[in-house]
Amino acid sequence: MVIAAAAVRVGVAEGGIGVAEAVAVPVAEGVAEAVGVSVGVRVALEEGVPDAVGAADAVGLAVGDGGAGECAGSRGSVAVGVPPRTTDSAPPPQPQAPRAAARLIPMGRNERTKARHQRRQRNRNRRLESMDAHPYTGRATHCQAAASSAGPSGPQPPSPVAIAARSGALIPGIAAGKKAQAQSTMAIQGKPRTRARLDPATVLPAGAARRSETPGAPLLARPAARRGGKRRQWPAIPLLLILAAAAMPVDSTAAHGLQRVRERGVLRWGGDLQGGEPYVFRDPRDASRIIGFEVDIAEAVARRMGVRAEFVQNDWHHLIPALERGDFDVILNGLEVTPARRERIAFTRPYYAFTEVLVVRAGDGHVSALPELRGWRIGTLQGSLAFDLLQQSSATIVLYEGVEEPYRDLEQGRLDGVLLDNIIADRYGLPRPGLRIAATLGTGQYAAGVRPDEPELLSAVDSALGAMAAEGELRAILEKWRLWNELQERLGTSRPEPVLEPPMRWMTWDHLWLFLRATGVTLAISTCAMALAVVGGLGVGLCRRYGSRAARALATAYIEIFRGTPLLLQLYVLYYGLAPVLPLGAFTAAVLGLGMNYAAYEAELYRAGLEAVPREQAEAAMALGMSHALALRRILLPQALRVALPGIANDFIAVLKDSSLVSVITVVELTKQMTITAVDLRGWLLPGLLCAGLYLGLSYPLSRLARRLERRLTPTQR
């Protein structure tokens, strides 16, 4: 059993009710044994709420087995909340299908991992205390992984699990300061196995909220496997969390998100143009305009909040760290609701339900479930839900930055399949004649994400989305983009009709203008970085050659560290890692990162240059009574610079090219512009050539200039 323990929390709320009390309820022993789950149920009741107890009676509860384990195993808990008023209308509790056949949980880790996990769990429980539920009738699980085709046959019963988990945080009027972090759940449907069914009614019969042996104690997840005699197993920590570790969340100053947005009159929303159509992309007819169904949603949300929407470009993989940094107020860019993300940000109600579609070449074999992918090369996007799913299989995962490239590689035989959201598959994969859908391996939802410490903003955006859904505006938008399907209506699991669209686009003058602007950014960053490197490198180089012992050691350490670690890593650390203590702007961080990195190389160039100056030069200067500094400044350095100049020019050209790395910290420079445009145009050739031409246009004059300088400075003989 994969759920080590489920801390189940039932939030009862009605119209802005917070949680006042929590009771841990152990699940009936038999049930727990049968499913290997120890479920602690917290029924949170608000004091003074009329018929709070009655509400508790109405609680329906379902704990996902295997699939939930995917979330719960990694998180250690499943939050369950059911709105009391909606249980009547909710479909009858449905037995959860047993675990997916996929190998969901990697083998157990060592003790340290366990300790870390328990620590995390404690924190989570603390967070749980402020969870609320409200009568939001979201119907589906967050993500249902249909592990086999036998799984979803017809409309699936919505799982109450996670409804409150998702909606819990959405209630307006949550006591300020409380973290409205909701726990997520996931139910996976798969081939029936001999697993006990977990019926909400069974787990927690109405009114069966028994007090736990240790009331009030933190909801410690108890490893069920301990009882079952099995070793406790934890899933691999999703890649996202690794990223998260590198980028410590910024604890934003206060929960003034909504106030800030109102005062500014602007709702800044983050997304990545590279995601392409139909999410957020440049209008092919007018490249100065950004369009997409998420643009429409963002504008509608902003309008309902009485402000203006402003798009902020950001690398998709780093939307969450950028949100935490405060680069924008809300993420609205195909962000799948996953347990890992719930760990870091708060989600609104979903605005789109999608399926994970495996696309293969037409002639290839049949696949119906994740485990069958063993040994396959499957392409997907980094940080996507599909990526998370694939990690549970034994497939070889190939990560891409854009949505066009994986399908192209699939066509060319570099991949055996591509697992991506159906929207992407429809637009970028299926139009290719040689490709077909092999299976739908899961479902998920897009939702907007905000910082967890801004509950007012969360509820404002959520209410706007809710109103849009209720008034049909959301449907209108989705229909406009040909995204509407019955999946949206039910938020269940059904296969959408592929939307075919011929992928033919041409480059326009606007694109050229964007490229030129990006070239300017590249040039500006490179020049500033190089100036910093030349000056900083001089300091480091002089320290290394003439400094005291300590200064020499420091300079050497600097050089070794900056030369010996990847620039990309340095940029990550500088921009995301240092954000809590030193929130640098993207441009500043880019210049600093590149400059500090290249300073290490410049320092070595100066050192080599100084060593190349004949000793007699220094002696002649000293014999004339010159001080060290004077001799250095007037006699030695000018000569050393001359020796170093070709290297410096070389480095300048290298910086021009390395500046492409700063796109990871959200700067749109030439290369990033190229990749974005390539997605827009669905072709690499033209943007690639243009990009290469622009780089050459920058670097060639530079190398000519360097050669001329060198000739002018270098004596033909000594």
């Binding site: 004949p614 007699e616 030069q617 002696e619 002649a620 200067a621 000293m622 014999a623 004339l624 009574g625 010159m626 001080s627 060290h628 004077l630 007037r634 006699i635 000018p638 000569q639 001359r642 400075l713 004596p715 033909t716 003989q717 000594r718």
Partner: protein, 260 residues
């Protein structure tokens, strides 16, 4: 010439790489005196000159210039004031005439007076031009060093050293890197300086030349002064085996350098 000495060395010992090069040198150089040093290779001639302005630190003894005393174990950083005081008063001309390649001839000469002595650039330029005239290179003031012949470069180097108005000028084999024709132009400049009363310590193998201009000749062998006296006495009647072997190996001709 027995006026008040401008340079005094007492018991100088110096070692390079653990090998003792100077083994106790005592020397006084009077004002206006021209002292020539002879000696076989490795006898310590160059080391002795470099010890005079502490380019080569010595291990024992002391050097006194204009009341400033150099002692063993001085550091470039801590004792920079004394070192600077001495070095601005002791000019040095190297065998390899290391001009500053990135500066013009004029800038080479005026750099130190301007930056070290603090003369205004106009004054320093005037001084430099006068000195270049003196070494016959005023016309090449704007040239870059690498366009000059070796002899011209060495003359610029001499002008550069003279621009500091040194009490004593040290010349370390100033012509050994030059062919005879170029040597001659350098030697004539040195001779002219000698006639002008410039105090000099000169290491050279040009015995014919030093016979004309030196007031005193020292013979150095294995780190010690083995012979000392007027040129005629030392050159014509060498007492030490070292002196005899050097002088025997060198042509005993008369002066072949042109007089100016």
């Amino acid at each position: 010439m027995t006026e008040a000495p401008v340079l005094i060395a007492r018991g100088l010992r110096a070692a390079l790489g653990g090998v003792e090069i100077l083994k106790g040198i005592d020397l006084q150089v009077g004002r206006g005196e021209v002292v020539a040093i002879l000696g076989p290779s490795g006898s310590g001639k160059t080391t002795l000159l470099r010890a005079f302005n502490y380019l080569t630190p010595f291990t024992a003894g002391e050097v006194e210039v204009a009341g400033y005393r150099l002692r063993p174990g001085m550091s470039e950083r801590a004792d920079r004031k004394i070192l600077r005081a001495v070095r601005t008063r002791v000019g040095m001309v190297f065998q390899s005439f290391p001009l500053f390649p990135h500066l013009t001839v004029l800038q080479n000469v005026m750099e130190a007076p301007h930056r070290v002595l603090g003369l205004s650039s106009a004054v320093a330029q005037e001084v430099a031009l006068r000195l270049l005239q003196r070494v016959g290179l005023a016309a090449l003031a704007a040239a870059m060093p690498h366009t000059l012949s070796g002899g011209q470069q060495q003359r610029v180097a001499i002008a550069r050293a003279l621009a500091m108005e040194p009490l004593v000028l040290l010349l370390d084999e100033p012509t050994s890197a030059l062919d005879p024709r170029l040597s001659a132009e350098v030697l004539s400049v040195i001779a002219e300086l000698a006639r002008g009363g410039q105090t000099m310590v000169l290491v050279t193998h040009e015995t014919a030349f030093l016979r004309e201009i030196a007031h005193r000749v020292l013979v150095l062998d294995d780190g010690r002064i083995v012979e000392s006296g007027p040129p005629a006495a030392v050159l014509d009647r060498p007492q030490s085996s070292a002196a005899r072997s050097i002088l025997g190996a060198s042509p005993r001709g008369r002066a072949r350098w042109p007089r100016s």
